[in-house]
Symmetry: C2
Subunit: 326 residues, 2 copies
């Protein structure tokens, strides 16, 4: 059975543990410096494991421990030494990841696969201190990984094709997850780039007083969300063009589309260069839109609660069930 070592067991790491353990043929070795790791796993993991695990919830983790499908390790060395896959979801910090991979490389089996769950630090940045950087790739999940089907597989320019193929095969195997290979390293990869492009315009529209944050959410949930849950973006516009497909759609809607593109909002969340930071107007602009958006969102939704999260998770699972008929 594939032996997975998980380095870092925060929210994403724990959900990844559930993802791996929901597959019958795996074992998971975990390493995380948090002092209450054992108690934390016992408290949180059972809620994430699929009901197909069977057995009473309060003894699920005991069973996983006793049949060696799950093990907790005090050292990185012990966690990774016999692993076929070593997956890290530690701090999003270049120095940490570079140091960690250099160390893992000296401890791991020569055949082990190296995966990072990072959402922002490319493999080609993480691997700079490795002797053989060709084993490392990014395996970027969407939150929560044990439920959300997307896995973005992002190799660096020097990553071996065999490692890409291994990751694709692993995540394809059980049907629920949908690995997609992203062919170039690019900030935010693909999913977040698309979301952030839309989010920038969303923030701008709220800032400009075109629509309230809650109403914008209603708009998305009453149109784009359901549409894109059942049809891709290109597929939708291809259908929208009728018999002429996407080409017709672009001819027909191109004028409005270009008008929108020419006028897209350009709010900034963090000035990136000295010029921007030195620019009082720009800086003031940043503060102003953030406050406006955050205030409206807080007013609309109030504090985050576990109950709300649970309810949304149930709905998400139901939508994913509908997708099974596609």
């Amino acid at each position: 059975m594939p032996r997975i070592a998980l380095i870092g067991l925060g929210t994403i790491g724990l959900s990844m543990a559930a993802l791996h353990l929901d597959r019958e043929d795996t074992s998971v070795a975990v390493f995380d410096p948090r002092p209450d790791l054992n108690e934390y796993i016992r408290r949180r993991l059972p809620q994430l494991l699929s009901s197909s695990q069977g057995g009473p919830v309060d003894t699920l983790v005991d069973t996983l421990f006793s049949n060696s499908r799950l093990s907790i390790h005090d050292t990185l060395s012990s966690a990774v030494s016999s692993a076929e896959v070593i997956q890290e979801q530690g701090p999003e910090n270049e120095a940490f990841k570079q140091r960690t991979w250099r160390e893992i490389e000296t401890l791991a089996l020569p055949s082990a696969q190296f995966w990072s769950s990072t959402s922002g630090i490319a493999a080609s940045i993480q691997n700079v201190q490795m002797t053989d950087p060709s084993r490392l790739l990014v395996v970027h999940p969407f939150n929560p990984p044990h439920i959300m089907p997307l896995i973005e597989i992002v190799p660096g320019p020097t990553t071996k094709q065999a490692c890409v193929d291994f990751a694709v095969a692993y995540f394809s195997k059980h049907g629920h997850h949908r690995p997609v290979v992203v062919r170039k390293e690019i900030p935010g990869f693909v999913g977040n780039r698309l979301a952030f492009a839309l989010f920038r315009e969303a923030c701008s529209l709220v800032n400009e007083g075109v629509v309230h944050a809650r109403d914008l959410d209603t708009i998305v949930m009453a149109s784009l969300g359901p549409r894109w849950a059942t049809q891709g973006v290109f597929e939708s516009y291809h259908a929208g063009g009728g018999e002429g497909g996407l080409a017709s759609f672009l001819d027909k809607l191109g004028g409005t589309m270009q008008q929108v593109w020419d006028g897209l909002g350009t709010v900034n969340v963090k000035p990136q260069n000295v010029d921007a930071q030195d620019d009082g107007v720009q800086d003031d602009g940043v503060v102003r839109w953030k406050e406006k958006v955050v205030d409206q969102v807080n007013e609309a939704y109030g504090p985050f609660t576990a109950d709300k999260a649970k309810k949304k998770e149930t709905l998400l699972k139901q939508v994913l069930d509908v997708q099974k008929d596609i």
Copy 2:
């Protein structure tokens, strides 16, 4: 019962007819210059009417005609003369709409509501030849209107609040549709602006070879689509920030987000000004990305078929059913 006159019975108009007729308390008078209007309605409308209409499909339209809930008119005058709501979905052409509203204004009841289903021409442009421009507003649906819940209500600066309130109340009444007021006239309104912002980046990523069009669709369907079908954009990131909400999320992801925003793609679908049209490089760039994207989409999906459309519609209805638990 509300008497609706529908001017223009293309794809959107026919679906709008179904939307109105699915409500028990309405009657619909239609006007469209197409010569086969009667036959077209008899062939296409029954497929769009909700099953709650009851009765055998082949006599549904006969029943609607015989109890005067549906009527076909040879003249604009006859269609609108006793209507409480006059809704146009004619050609997306400023001159046509301006002329039509001027004429309708002379024929309609003084109390009639004037709605345009346009996706691109603001009320303040459509109303310039009217004596009283304050009755007109945009009622922009998403395709297909009888299924998709969103109705964007976009008043012009001079539209009466009572007309906005009437439209919101009408579309709110039966629970399925979700009218949202857009507070400023802006190209693409809100839903299409958000979609087009994402679509621009999608086209750019395909053009840059980061991801194949089909894989990009998979990415959206395996993450953003299901997410936004169950949670709004702001609500999702608010939850993503944990206890600190959206403010924490922006602090935590702000660096990557700004990096993405600074590098968003800028493909163009139609050069808008003389400079751009005169610029051979720009023009060549436009052609190149369009061909690449259209080729990949045609390869991925092939020609549009009625069967595919029907299947996607069924899935869309299932996702909207899940939303009823929100």
